[in-house]
Symmetry: C2
Subunit: 377 residues, 2 copies
């Protein structure tokens, strides 16, 4: 992560500017980090935003200071704190993701994220046997010193949290002050008090469909391994498992009979390379010796343009001229393309291409894909 440790203390003013920058239109984790790298601070980036976004149809309006004032008060009122990606207590494994959330809000005991973490996820409509199994696995893993990460969903997730309390992290798709699902309001409150509750969305955010895959990457990112218990094919649990695999983490699944439809997702995951586990000891054995080379064998899709932030930070952004963003726009289609390819075709420097892409993104003309490729919006 660029700048890690370089900002031992973050001024209240810069923290405020960072929140405001991230909440501004067309800003994602990547453009956020690029802007801070380019302008040295979020405050300077905010000043530059209207000019950078001048390609857009109307004038660019950053998030208002008022709205951020209200957000900060809501976070305080919820008993939560902000956590920035370059702070020393930001979870290290999560920080390794290209798409690591630049800002999180959290309640509870942040030290839980420093212990070895294991994610346990699964179906909402799980069988009674699987729910009990999830609870028993979670209890045994907590007993062995692991922090159990899950998503507070009904079924497997909730049972895992309950089994592991207080050694558990709940990652929610809503804002930190919203209880979701409603059936787990009490459990969420208990996790916030005894464990750790984490949210990426601003307070007040009701969870939408698109928030869940985003949330799942945080679950997978916090843990050195993800265990799936009963999951339907194409379910969110499998997305979490695949994100874990792509991040180079261990992926584990509990099998079931092919005659039980609730087993199909886990069985397919094992066919795809997840390690079949039957007991908590097998999970512990895998993760205690985890050194970043998972025993599970996932074919990771080629990620042709994953970001190297260290390299981005080294680029001479000060010299980068983006007045050819018009040319870059012409190179883009609806089909995703690697940024390296754009550098080759445009014969510009990487810094120039990144600046041009940033301008296009701020103008709402660019979409960044999860694999680091870009396409026309």
């Amino acid at each position: 992560m660029e700048g890690k440790g370089s900002q031992p203390t973050l001024s209240q003013q810069e923290a405020f500017a960072r929140i405001r920058l991230l909440r501004s239109p067309n800003i994602g984790p990547i453009s956020y980090r690029q802007l801070i790298a380019r302008f040295g601070s979020a405050a300077a980036a905010l000043d530059a935003l209207p000019d950078l976004a001048s390609r857009g149809r109307g004038p660019y309006r950053p998030a208002s200071a008022d709205s951020i004032e209200r957000e900060v008060m809501a976070v305080r009122a919820a008993g939560a704190r902000y956590l920035f990606h370059d702070q020393s207590d930001y979870p290290a494994l999560l920080g390794e993701l290209d798409s690591a959330p630049p800002i999180l809000t959290c309640r509870g005991h942040l030290a839980l994220a420093s212990a070895p973490c294991v994610a346990l996820v699964g179906a909402r409509n799980a069988s009674a046997a699987a729910v009990k199994l999830a609870r028993d696995f979670a209890a045994a893993l907590a007993e062995a010193g692991f922090t159990l990460v899950s998503g507070l969903a009904r079924g497997i997730d909730g049972a895992a949290h309950e089994g592991a309390l207080p050694q558990t992290i709940g990652v929610i798709a809503s804002g930190i002050d919203i209880a979701y699902p409603p059936q787990h309001a009490a459990l969420q409150e208990r996790i916030a008090g005894e464990g750790l509750l984490v949210a990426e969305q601003p307070p007040g955010t009701e969870p939408r469909g698109r928030h869940f895959p985003s949330r799942n990457r945080i679950i997978a990112g916090l843990a050195s391994g993800t265990l799936v218990v009963e999951a339907a094919p194409q379910s969110g649990s499998l997305i979490t498992a695949r994100l874990a695999g792509e991040a180079g983490r261990e992926v584990m699944a509990i099998p079931g009979s092919p005659l039980d439809a609730r087993s199909l997702g886990c069985n397919q995951l094992i066919r795809d390379g997840a390690v079949l586990v039957q007991t908590p000891d097998e999970v512990i054995e895998l993760l205690v010796s985890f050194t970043g080379a998972p025993r599970s064998r996932f074919r990771v899709a080629d990620s042709p343009g994953a970001f190297d932030y260290a390299e981005l930070a080294r680029l001479d952004w000060g010299e980068a001229r983006a007045d050819f963003s018009h040319d870059i726009a012409h190179l883009l289609t609806n089909a995703p393309v690697a940024i390296d390819e754009l550098v080759r075709q445009s014969q510009a420097t990487p810094a120039e291409v990144h600046m041009a892409l940033l301008e296009l993104e701020l103008a709402g003309e660019l979409v960044r894909e999860a694999d680091g490729t870009v396409r026309r919006a």
Copy 2:
């Protein structure tokens, strides 16, 4: 296999001598083949036996001609025929095993062994669901053109045969004229009529414990892949699967919940490297493209002294002097040792060492392990 195709016709006299040689004391598949390689024919080997075995305590008595007369009559009476390992209709995949049975007896349609074969084995006390699943898999595999190999045991084996009839091979641990288990007498008779029934033991042999692992190597050896449906840990089905893995064949297993003890064997097998399969199509896809490089990943135990019969046949047995078998005997302990190691330590030629070991074996002083190592009896 040495001599394959070199004996297009086998004289009735030599066939008789071969049966008599194999049924003689202290003769196994390896010494049988070594003796024929050394003396050119079973008849000549039989003549040499008493002298070769002179180290033994009493005089060596080969199987009596009378007992072999009775055996041949019993095989005929059972409507069975003999099949010798170097005959052209001996199943090719089975012939690849170091421990390929030199002589089989069989009833039914030998052509079934020339079709691609898949073995399906599992627990005797299987669940009703697994028995139905085995029958359905077998029917689908037979429909796709595979011959289904199994062991005629109660439970999974029987269901697999029934599902695949007539495209099925039953390999029994008893003699060809003994129905075992008694509950499957009618099924065994049906397989002998419509499919193929194979036995390694002489007619009249009641199955003993030691016959079953021996029989299992034939099931695994006939098939390009072995599928296990419900098996207890340390069960015969797992032995069959491991023998298949060691022979470089595909190993597949149907998973189940860790909460069901009947799943533990299959789940462990998948952890050890078997391919998890859920549908007959997944089995077909694996085996149709099988080229001798299995997708299952079994750590095969090092086999330090597996026999290379082609090399053995090339050794100059005529020159080999075995008068130092006494010295070789001194090198042996109860701990298995590789024959290569004995060659190194004795500073003798491989042919001399093999002859010495043969003499020790005939005298009842040597045990050959499944992995090709030898130890003191």
